[in-house]
């Protein structure tokens, strides 16, 4: 068995043809010593490739194919090939462009607010103070809370009748009545951004904090001796020190907020009058409210292209970051 495997896996270029190793060789090349079964890694990842292939890659391929057809689930008719019709419709559809705009607004604002809050809290928690572990636990609370209860809590907090947030709102000049928080387009969008950021920022904070703690303290000491101001310390030591992490997080945050479904869908469903309808919500509504599967798959392909582009950015940054760590 081993011989067969070794024979198949023999690779003359690396010269690792000796399957039977004696102890002296093992001490010379300890990392190589164990690589005996050449097919083992492939056997290990095969189930994973099959599994992800069947449940994720195959449906996506089906989706891409489906976007060129007309699907009628209710009837037993097979899908009809319609070519680029769904895409032509998409590009002519003014609502599609509005959805793109809403998606960009939402995603951009969440990246800004959540990362900003994450950076500020990380800088804050990087300072030593008593009760820091407790405060850190409290900071992580929104992140640990599942999305559905987050939605439930905020529906209750934002209730126009009894919502506790109205106590604060009433303190503002010119607010005499409890606002209809989720019925006014601008307010609804604002709350979606705030809630999504509230849920996400502790994660960013934790990651930035880890990066801050990896910045060598000697740099700060040396700069202080040379008379650097706190701003100079931040700009010339902290920012370069956590730069790659921040880049990585910008990409990660854009993926996470682009994917955001549950909070928006359960709180506004995309309303009022489409004000919070990001592309993810639009795809869902098109498929499962209007039962327009073919058009929804075309929208899905558009979303796929976007997330693929962001994904590639992430891969590049992640590889760079991993290299630095190594």
């Amino acid at each position: 068995m081993t011989d067969l495997a070794a024979g198949r896996g023999f690779d003359p270029s690396t010269g690792s043809g000796h399957r039977k190793l004696n102890p002296s060789e093992q001490t010379n090349t300890p990392a190589r010593a164990r690589k005996r079964i050449h097919w083992l890694p492939y056997a290990l990842v095969l189930p994973i490739i099959l599994y992800e292939g069947l449940l994720i890659v195959y449906p996506i391929a089906q989706g891409i194919y489906g976007s060129f057809t007309r699907i009628e689930l209710a009837s037993k008719n097979p899908p009809v090939w319609v070519g680029w019709d769904n895409y032509a419709r998409m590009f002519r559809d003014p609502e599609f462009w509005k959805v793109i705009q809403t998606t960009l607004t939402f995603t951009g604002l969440v990246i800004f607010v959540a990362l900003g809050a994450g950076l500020c809290t990380a800088l804050l928690f990087n300072r030593p103070f008593r009760a820091r572990p407790v405060a850190r636990g409290m900071l992580m609370m929104p992140w640990a809370l599942p999305e559905v209860p987050v939605v439930m809590i905020f529906i209750w907090i934002l209730s126009p009748q009894f919502g506790v947030v109205n106590i604060l709102a009433r303190m503002l000049p010119g607010v005499a009545e409890n606002p209809q928080w989720l019925q006014v387009p601008g307010l609804a969008m604002g709350w979606m951004v705030l809630i999504a950021s509230w849920k996400a920022f502790p994660f960013y904070s934790l990651v930035i904090l880890a990066a801050l703690q990896a910045v060598p303290q000697e740099l700060y000491e040396a700069a202080k001796v040379d008379g650097a101001s706190p701003f100079q310390l931040f700009w010339n030591i902290t920012v370069p020190g956590i730069g790659t992490t921040l880049e990585l997080l910008v990409v990660l945050a854009s993926i996470f907020s682009f994917k955001q479904f549950t909070i928006i869908y359960l709180m506004t469903g995309g309303g009022p009058s489409g004000a919070t309808e990001t592309i993810v919500i639009r795809i869902y509504n098109t498929a499962f409210r209007f039962y327009d599967y073919s058009y929804a798959t075309a929208l899905g392909v558009a979303g796929f292209v976007v997330s693929l582009v962001i994904g590639i950015f992430f891969v590049i940054l992640q590889a760079r970051r991993a290299q630095e760590n190594a």
């Binding site: 093992q26 990392a31 809370l145 209860p149 439930m152 880890a210 869902y284 962001i310």
Partner: protein
């Protein structure tokens, strides 16, 4: 000489005052941040344990005036919460077993072995990890419908596991990476085969990582809403995430029951996420950040 000392003293005092003010400002800011993150959770607890004559009043009192626990019994009496939690539990256990088993394979291949295609495999995982769930949902719904797999808890756990698997592989890879290669080499010298090295050495040494992966996959499936809401249409299969979203505060569900349901659902995930945060962070960033 004396003036010099006095100068130094006053400068020291000034420094001390400034330091005290800075400390105070630090504590105030930390308190404000903590208030912001904890208040909504606090409010859930207050609204749960207080009779609704206090909560259904504007402005509501900010501190609980009276505590009751009857709402829990009423909640279980009026809504099939027990059934929902049971469904969630079954889905989560199946996703957990599947995901943990598969992530051991993937993590070992990525961590300890050098092979052609390793980085391509990593890339494949990263890309699947980045995809929005909705993109897979529509075609998957059509496929599941054709195969008669709608309204099946195991079928739902299959897709849940598929979405969390890449993250679990990264978590476990990070843990496997910490097993010193010398230990593995020594085992091989002592006559272990490649597979028994995994079984006898790597896995026992990575027990906390295995627990982390199990917890992460369990609660991913437990929390998941989107797939569950579409792939499980029948009320008898409804998991808690979907069930809870059907409750309407005030309109049909009294607020204290509504919030009690939210609390019951979140307690375990919150506890476990807080304990496992280090691992989850490393998984979500594909190992780029150790947390």
């Amino acid at each position: 000489m004396t003036t010099h000392a006095a100068d130094a003293e006053s400068a020291g005092k000034k420094y001390k005052v400034r330091q005290k003010v800075g400390q105070a400002a630090l504590y105030v800011t930390v308190a404000a941040v903590s208030l912001l993150t904890v208040f909504p959770v606090y409010w859930m607890a207050v609204s749960t344990f207080q009779p609704n004559k206090y909560t259904l009043h504007f402005p509501p009192p900010l501190f609980p005036q009276e505590i009751t626990v009857t709402q829990f019994a009423e909640l279980f009496g009026h809504h099939p919460i027990a059934l929902w939690l049971r469904n969630s539990f079954l889905i989560a256990v199946m996703a957990m077993l599947l995901c943990t088993a598969l992530s051991v394979l993937g993590a070992y291949a990525l961590s300890s072995l050098r092979w052609k295609g390793r980085s391509t495999f990593g890339l494949f995982l990263l890309v699947t990890q980045m995809l929005p769930e909705i993109l897979v949902l529509i075609p998957l719904y059509v496929i599941y419908r054709r195969l008669n797999m709608l309204n099946s808890l195991p079928a739902l756990s299959l897709i849940d596991a598929a979405f969390i698997l890449p993250i679990c592989i990264w978590i476990l890879k990070g843990v496997f990476d910490t097993v010193p290669p010398e230990v593995l080499d020594a085992a091989v010298v002592d006559g272990c085969t490649e597979l028994s090295v995994v079984w006898r050495i790597v896995l026992p040494l990575s027990a906390p990582g295995l627990v982390a992966v199990a917890v992460v996959s369990f609660f991913f499936a437990w929390n998941e809403y989107l797939y569950a809401s579409i792939l499980l249409g029948k009320a008898e299969f409804m998991p808690a995430s979907v069930g809870l979203s059907t409750l309407k505060a005030i309109a049909s569900t009294p607020v204290e029951q509504y919030m009690a349901a939210g609390m019951i659902f979140s307690i375990l995930p919150v506890l476990f996420y807080l304990t496992m945060q280090r691992y989850i962070v490393s998984g979500l960033t594909a190992g780029a950040v150790k947390g």
